[in-house]
Symmetry: D2
Subunit: 354 residues, 4 copies
Amino acid sequence: MIVARFRPDVLIDEQSRLAAGWRHRGHRSFRCRVGHRTLVTFPDLAAASPEGERFLTVLRATRAVESVVDSAESPPLGSLAAVGEPTAVQVSEDWTVGGGRFTWIAGPCAVESQAQLTAVAGEVRAHGAQLLRGGAFKPRTSPYAFQGLGQEGLRLLAEASAATGLPVVTEVVDSAQVEAVAEVAQVLQIGARNAQNFALLREVALTGRPVLLKRGFGCTVQEWLHSAEYLLAAGNSQVLLCERGVRTFESATRFTLDISAVSLVKRLSHLPVLVDPSHACGRADLVAPLAAAAAVAGADGVMVDVHQDAHGALCDGQQAITPEEFGALVTRTSRILHSIDPTEPVADHAMAGR
Amino acid sequence: MIVARFRPDVLIDEQSRLAAGWRHRGHRSFRCRVGHRTLVTFPDLAAASPEGERFLTVLRATRAVESVVDSAESPPLGSLAAVGEPTAVQVSEDWTVGGGRFTWIAGPCAVESQAQLTAVAGEVRAHGAQLLRGGAFKPRTSPYAFQGLGQEGLRLLAEASAATGLPVVTEVVDSAQVEAVAEVAQVLQIGARNAQNFALLREVALTGRPVLLKRGFGCTVQEWLHSAEYLLAAGNSQVLLCERGVRTFESATRFTLDISAVSLVKRLSHLPVLVDPSHACGRADLVAPLAAAAAVAGADGVMVDVHQDAHGALCDGQQAITPEEFGALVTRTSRILHSIDPTEPVADHAMAGR
Amino acid sequence: MIVARFRPDVLIDEQSRLAAGWRHRGHRSFRCRVGHRTLVTFPDLAAASPEGERFLTVLRATRAVESVVDSAESPPLGSLAAVGEPTAVQVSEDWTVGGGRFTWIAGPCAVESQAQLTAVAGEVRAHGAQLLRGGAFKPRTSPYAFQGLGQEGLRLLAEASAATGLPVVTEVVDSAQVEAVAEVAQVLQIGARNAQNFALLREVALTGRPVLLKRGFGCTVQEWLHSAEYLLAAGNSQVLLCERGVRTFESATRFTLDISAVSLVKRLSHLPVLVDPSHACGRADLVAPLAAAAAVAGADGVMVDVHQDAHGALCDGQQAITPEEFGALVTRTSRILHSIDPTEPVADHAMAGR
Amino acid sequence: MIVARFRPDVLIDEQSRLAAGWRHRGHRSFRCRVGHRTLVTFPDLAAASPEGERFLTVLRATRAVESVVDSAESPPLGSLAAVGEPTAVQVSEDWTVGGGRFTWIAGPCAVESQAQLTAVAGEVRAHGAQLLRGGAFKPRTSPYAFQGLGQEGLRLLAEASAATGLPVVTEVVDSAQVEAVAEVAQVLQIGARNAQNFALLREVALTGRPVLLKRGFGCTVQEWLHSAEYLLAAGNSQVLLCERGVRTFESATRFTLDISAVSLVKRLSHLPVLVDPSHACGRADLVAPLAAAAAVAGADGVMVDVHQDAHGALCDGQQAITPEEFGALVTRTSRILHSIDPTEPVADHAMAGR
């Protein structure tokens, strides 16, 4: 699909005027602000068609347009080629995900009580986490399983956030709760089971808040990027992609972490990519090596389940690590990351023409 | 999980009184009317625990209780063992899905126009369909793809239903539309991408309308049955299960139809099971053999994409068959079904003890 | 790939002379006798290349050549388009697999003793089996599991075959045993774990005996057809394809029977296609419905594990049915098959141009 | 399964005498020398059975026995618990795989010519490779694809090995070639398609040479470990496990690298674990990040396809990196590895009791 990038100095007014003209010709267009740039895509125009070629010529001759790309490999507004460089997402006054920094998101799978959450939040902060995770609304396979504390869980998250200064990431599972969750959470999470709940994606996009979008465990990389494109096409470019394992025939781990997808998505998309090793493998003893693997494969951060008493956890205890283990993991991974020269490309191998 | 069935002659009042007593002991219970029976399950009681054993004894001694089952293989309210026989779902005054009848659901993947829908609806009715399918709200991988006609599509479905007398099955993708869809559709469809959208499942259950629940393409049979249990636990037992193919490494077909799941679910669940061969294989030439295979494997019906002009279809044209092909398919499959003696068990093989 | 079919009346001498001429131009060619026809393919010539187009013109102008096909969807010598109609494989004086007949292959997973084999062989024959299956060399995941009776197993199979008149299908797992197995078995089986053991495929092809080629559980349909092509390219067209389930995330069944692959392969290949529901699902209670499903999906036969005492079986007992269950299965499936008009196409839907 | 480890100072004679006594009681036993230890396993004795318990008592009271383990999670002779620490495999006078060292295996997918091989071998050696890879016998999906140079390829590998001093790893695809390959190669490779070709595994084990065992792309971790157990049970403990990607629904990469399996197998097995990122992803641009990920996840080495002219490669060119890229990859990964403190456990999290 054809996607154009405006010059940084083009005013919103001029952008709107141009877009109106293009719309006038009958071409649908979708616009999205990405960092300090604006992208616009024309989904009905194929670069290969005669009409598309004519329109490409027009776009290239338009002074306000800085670059025009035919995004063949990836949805247009999320495409790295369209933006030209990776983007970062500001999640609080103090912290930006992406842009060369590595982010640690930690906390319990589910919020269980004030005591539990306050203690964990303090500990993960002390050990290096920049964001607090914790589920108030839990999507559970069985209707009889613990479904989360709901509104009370949100209240506890707000308290823990206030006490520690950590911004909160929490899942929203229903359009009806978007507003309530957005009052508490700096980042709204779309879980794997809702990765193609397009109605929820649109609703969440409209909050303007950063969104952490998990990959569906039955979804391809392309489908995941298309789900992100729903957010971008709705005008919200504050998107964090999160790989959390896919369904395969292997049963020794809960899911199979698709580490290749991390590197691949960094080549296709400008959005930050996180990894959730806890849900991917479902085993506490594999979280540390998988977190380190994610870091060197190019991930912008990691999200892990941390619980003081994994045996007593109400949800997914077997995959939670202790705060001390989290601390050791941060230390080890940080040392690894410092050994990598950030100016050195991970791979300068040109795939072009292959 | 322990599940008890009330005697048919036990009054609602007595059921409520008993349930209140059980609740009083601190056990959660979920009740659901299934046909002319009432089931009640106690999710927190494991039959193997001392407390569970004591409670089992109490239940068995309760006059109002007809049978008590420990449903180990399958969620309790949907369990065949709990009900004792397959159930049927009344979708209109004239038609019941299940109960030994084979149901044909046919129509276009997406509603495109009045002309298209009226013509197809008349043709599939003439060729033997008992329900009309057609999407007004389409969940599409890309935000730029045709998303369905929405409200206008619902209006056209209502017209086509009135003209042909066929009840309508159509997908609901958002809680916000449940009411509008329920005004038009006799059966509300939950699509594969929303199979674990538990908020939507609860919302749809509350309409009391029959629900066609597609299996998520990344979901196991157990997860699918648990999604159905969300509907049952919310008091709605009018559930039609629909297998539509799962994700595998094979790319010659769009998905891989899990034909074993059809036979398996007929052994685990009392709910009717349908098959959608069109979405499963994504190829028009395989729809007929897969529909027949589904029928002899024990399915209670089949749902197929039918379009007069597959090349011009706005959605999934390559998998649509023509009305004439649909007619031939109904004729062939009906002849096969008549050859099967319904009194003869498909397999009387006891798995017990293996 | 370009594949040419000789006219039936072209003598071997002329075929050889022409092939020599083509080879002279530097094009590799592979010849295979398929029924009363001879096919020859030129793997290095792409129909789309200028050289390929020139060569196509030459072939079409050659009097001895009846038809020329560019087999794009499927390997050339196994391609249905190249032969023009399905082929059949003669497995004994009395029986041919394919050609409109439905074949039942039954017997124990592993040969355990004379008493066991003699009894089962007699019973499955009485109930309608045309071939006896039974493993003498068993490929087992663990080196400590029962590996089959080996040579002694072959001797018992020869006895049972003599006593019942049933031809034998048995697996060969090593080039070193091909000769010994070929002395006893009318049909040599290549198991799923050796589906891409190309050295073994070549060795088995050279016996000239019919080969039953199971699909590898991690192999695509195309890879399976390419494995068959190894047999054909080595001059052996007596190939029976056998679908036996593939690896997926679903764990309720041992493997997932790919019923779509059966219909699909009947459209791509001229070879007979069988189905092994026992190994596919790993559960005795699903064998009957899956066998019937295979039959109406277009399979030319079914291969099932039968054992008098499934609990005591040394190998895969949980998937074996009893001789009586086998009899009921044959009766039921036969009635279904009789209801299908063989002159009526399963689907006349043209995929061309889609 | 019960597995006993002899004290290091127990003489072979005494080991044999004890084993004979145990055999005398009717228990099968399998013995394998692992490093300077000897393990013996009794596959027919379950620790949970009364007979197994009695035998455990006997074993524990036997002076020559150092430790007895019930290997529940993993096949016994390959089990880490049985040996007590990871083992290493000596592949040449100068190099040992495992034991804390990281090994680089590099070279072309297929040997194509003397010029090609000599040049690549020299370059990968200069850039840090310790072993040379290169296929002489290539298992190809299609019978018409380039099948390798065969004997001529072996001769070229021998020359390149002599010229560079690098030991050679090359695949053996047929029992008939084992001897010829063993004359040239220091390490015999079993490819993914032969991972469950148990006849070939036994044949290769008997050479006594180190064996590189790739995981079958449709095989679980447990099946892979059981294949290795065939080698160990045949007396050969010189086994290198190699993860090379599994089949999943994701098609953006050729296979899906199962990075979790690397960490997991390091917890289950004492054998060194390698990773082949080239075949796993099938894309040159992902090789570098995946190699680094493998290293930090605990792999003992990496095996990569290197070719001077990837476009002109006769086999799998799109996944080959250039010698220069290989050099950069070695440098980057080495820096990462140096940042990891080898005395620090990757994870000290106890899974016990979960």
